[in-house]
Symmetry: C2
Subunit: 704 residues, 2 copies
Amino acid sequence: MPGVARIVTGEDIRKIIPVPYYGPAFHDQPILALEKVRFAGEPVAVALAVDPHVAETAAQTIVVEYDPLPAVFDEVEAVSSPVFVHDELKPAGTFADLKHLAGRRDTNVALDFHLRRGDADATFATADHVFEHTFRTPQQMHTPLEPHVCIADARNGSVTIHSSTQTPSFVRAEIARLLGWQENRVRVRTAFLGGGFGAKVYVKLEALAVALSLFASRPVKLALTMSEQFFMISKHASTFRIKSAVTNEGRITARRCEVFYNGGAYADIGPRVAQKSGFSAAGPYDIANVAIDSYEIYTNRPPAGALRGFGVPQLVWAYESHTDLIARGLGLDPVAFRRANLLRDGVPHATGTVMRDAGLAAVLDRIVARIGWDQAFDRTPRDQDGGTIKRGRGVAIGIKASISPTTSAAHLAIAADGSATLYCSTVDMGQGSTTALAQIAAEVLGVAAEAVNVVAPDTDVTPYDMGTLGSRSTFHMGHAVRLAAEDARAKLATLAAEAGVPEGSNLPIPEIFRRRYGMQAGTIIGSGSFIPSYAAPDPATGLTANATPFWMIGGSGAEVEIDTETGSVRVLRLVTVADAGTPVNPAIVETQISGAAVMQLGFTLLEAMEFTEGQLRNPSLADYRIPGIRDLPPRFEAEAVDATQTNGPYGAKGVGESGTFGVSPAIANAIEDAVGVRITELPITAEAVYRALRLAAGDSLAEA
Amino acid sequence: MPGVARIVTGEDIRKIIPVPYYGPAFHDQPILALEKVRFAGEPVAVALAVDPHVAETAAQTIVVEYDPLPAVFDEVEAVSSPVFVHDELKPAGTFADLKHLAGRRDTNVALDFHLRRGDADATFATADHVFEHTFRTPQQMHTPLEPHVCIADARNGSVTIHSSTQTPSFVRAEIARLLGWQENRVRVRTAFLGGGFGAKVYVKLEALAVALSLFASRPVKLALTMSEQFFMISKHASTFRIKSAVTNEGRITARRCEVFYNGGAYADIGPRVAQKSGFSAAGPYDIANVAIDSYEIYTNRPPAGALRGFGVPQLVWAYESHTDLIARGLGLDPVAFRRANLLRDGVPHATGTVMRDAGLAAVLDRIVARIGWDQAFDRTPRDQDGGTIKRGRGVAIGIKASISPTTSAAHLAIAADGSATLYCSTVDMGQGSTTALAQIAAEVLGVAAEAVNVVAPDTDVTPYDMGTLGSRSTFHMGHAVRLAAEDARAKLATLAAEAGVPEGSNLPIPEIFRRRYGMQAGTIIGSGSFIPSYAAPDPATGLTANATPFWMIGGSGAEVEIDTETGSVRVLRLVTVADAGTPVNPAIVETQISGAAVMQLGFTLLEAMEFTEGQLRNPSLADYRIPGIRDLPPRFEAEAVDATQTNGPYGAKGVGESGTFGVSPAIANAIEDAVGVRITELPITAEAVYRALRLAAGDSLAEA
């Protein structure tokens, strides 16, 4: 076709990158499909052209002949299916603790995580009450409004990559590994992102863009359409079986959790989602006997990875729905039941880690207070005459560990005029990290935050950061920035001493430089690195004394209105509260909490990727609806509980995910409160509520 | 005119930059001419257009009405002229020692530097012999093959400048000063330069580009044509009166130097040229009584500034011509006369600084050995029958102080895979600094130089450097890089200790990071700053104990052939030798020496800016000839004398200018050796030699 430079296939790529597989957990994902295609939508060939419209037209004329193979799509079925997505598990990536899984055959289990504390089985055998439920969530989408985009220029023995990535340092290392180059020949630059939410962590388009640039010997740009985004990465569908032993007095004494995460065809970071969320599957409760099994499962679906909450919103949805079902079953007030079982500082978590700086009670108290839980509640609108509209209330609270142990580094330059420049690879994607990190540096230096210039991530310039993910930046990078600024401050004192300036003279910074260097000259560089202390889990039990450097705590209270004739759910009020430690920037923190809540509201009421035999039916924002301004509850409130994270930078902790935790179960709990039916699968559509109401009324749905 | 956005004048610029004057020595140069135009070719207005051809056409249609004012063009006349280029000297720039000059009225002297050692006058009064000569050089051009180019984007409260500058740190500070902004709002980026030679130091196009971008609210590009370069910056025309007292035995006992540098209409760095070269005007000789007066003079010519050698090639031209005239006058061998008077380590220089690590004798010895000075020399080519071709030989040697004290800073990052990235603002413009500095870092780290990636200067990224000028980078930045690498190496040892690695275990770097951070993670940042120790000169005498951290020594030997019928000069052989300390990269050093020699060959034989009443007659490479490959002598040799600069990084010193020193006087000395006439003004054209030959023969030139 005129204007087409060439067509590139996976086999072509293998000629220049002999082992063309990438991935953070396992090197399992081919840059373009090789031998077999594992999900409908997997890229198989590329048309290279100068004109993107020509490239698109050319790509559409490519005819691929597929030999159909058996496939498996459901995460629970895939555990025992004879169909294997991968013949053999590929080598593990950067995480040392996954290395033992490589080479496993005849399995779709990409990770099985097990935690055992006390003796759950024995406790169940003698329990006053046992409750067991299963909850499900569908595969869902990040849908950042800026889809993935990447430009790679691999010429002259080095490569520069401009990418919409949340993890520039990882991309650098992974591309260097694929090419067999040193990292300093790979430069990754990231501008302000139009949203990330976990979609843009680890390698996405970059490996393909680099390979194509090597073929083309010129820069290559890849930009996904909104529809193509659906096949890039998504949120795990999940199935969660949860079982609790409870005393007559309402104390939970044992819990068994089985979580199945549908990872799709390639692991991406899924195994770590299964592991890191897995160990918090028992929830924010003080339970002596816990057994958790958490599985990352390969299926023939588009890959799933990290999405705001890293698996925890799926867990909270299940365990906080379960909590209400227990309270209801025992005739207990759901808030009182929670309070009686809540973890408190000084008590060990299910992982064995002793709780510290976890404002669970404070968050629950604020939800209860704001929503007026203890006050009278009118279950039927006064102006509603037909009696078909019912109101209810619900609360839910969740907890998440930070991803740990992870490393952040930063450095800070002070110019001879006293102005400061901060270098770090934290990616600002709307969460306000640039502002918060400038504030931390400014606080140390005693200058205005506006005086600190923050350089955009550029791996040739800004030092290593594990990634902007898991609400880790304020805590980890905040510490690195603090250390860098403290180092710069100390070097400034040394400079003053060298210039003969007496201590405590309070000379302006430019004057110190001038005295030392005879003119306006010189730069001070302070640097800092941070990794929290961490104790590896016991291999036998999964227990650890130090599971996380800080806990994220969040919850919601919801008031809903159900039309019993149609099943339609209207959220009248959504109160979301999170423990933010001592917020660096209260305005940003509040926006983080409300942003997380509205995102989870979409996952609760609207969003699901719908498949027919592995074929995605709704890959567009026309058919896959995300919440807009009209979907917001009339009363939509966010609040940060002011607490102190003792080991945080200036008492701060991460809060980007906490607002997601409670939304789904609070709404489901409110629905049961209103109309007495329990929804166990997201999203909670009008149809689902209607079906539940009809079933509860004893109707045969076949007739309906 | 269609397509023209607007016309901008100096008055327009004053509306947004209230004091729109810039310059390193004095803030004397308006961004666009204000009130009066001080040289023919000064920019007076700008046409802004999207299409550069439209802008050019529009600029040509602008009609400017000038009121002629009296003018002065010659540097000696200007000293006593009643015509003043500036009504009042403007405030001094960054150099504290020029501040007392601001506000002077009724003078064209932008700097008068005086040095007094011993009693020259008394020595002259009782001298065996006194020799006095005057030498001149014309205004000449840097002519880097890439003319000045600058893009400024001043939007959103910050400005990014892409500029062909040798001094990104200075440009940042100066633009910040002009705008009244903090330096961290000004970003200056510099790609590999297509040559600099001093033309691109300090502010050139940048202030205008920034002002225009502020007007246009969009990026603005300014790119000079080769012809426009002639009005931007040039090499000082000079007049040098030199007088020596010599004993019957051939020892120089006193020297008086009067140097007049023609600085043109704006000072640029000229005052520092006059001062810093001035103190070495007495040459590389051990002279007990010295009186130096060096002047930077304003005239109505295009501005002059730094050009490879910072005034010293003009001085060596004069004092080494003078040396041969003395030797010839006393009937002494010029080499033996030099050897008898040469400065040696341990003896004080004219400035009072005791000589150290100055390989003067070694350089002279190598020139003499290579050129076969002590061997028979055939003054008439055998195959030349008419007898009109005469051959001669000459040598010359010069010395230069490094610009001091100046500051360089660097930092170095080690990534988790062990690869290193070096950050410094040294500008590579063909001199090979990137390679040499990578070598120094690699030497400290014990890795291959190829493994060190050097980031291009970018003031948002790379720390302060005084500038890439005056052959200072290998020494000053070399030390800063060494210190940064040593700091990184020490931090690596700390990291290893934190990871529990026993000392001396020789674990590969990536394994140290992996043990410390649990995966391939982290960055180490080492930083270093360097400024040499320095003693300010005594205000009364100009003497100092510590004039320079290292001496640059270079010289040449030349064999020439003169056609006595036409005066044409053919250089048969040019041997140039320099003291390079212990070269970091011998191949680069040799190229530096030969590059300097060929440049000075152009200044010696070809190049002069020709003026008629201040109007430049030859602003093009058609009319202003620079040496091409055919102008090279058939035997063109460069050699670095291997020595040790005790205080240099790995024993290295700067060498970029040393190759210029001896070329002009060696050729002039060879000409006198061949045909007995003395040329005292550059360039040495056939016409000049022909006139000298006719004058020597007693002919009236009016008749010829």
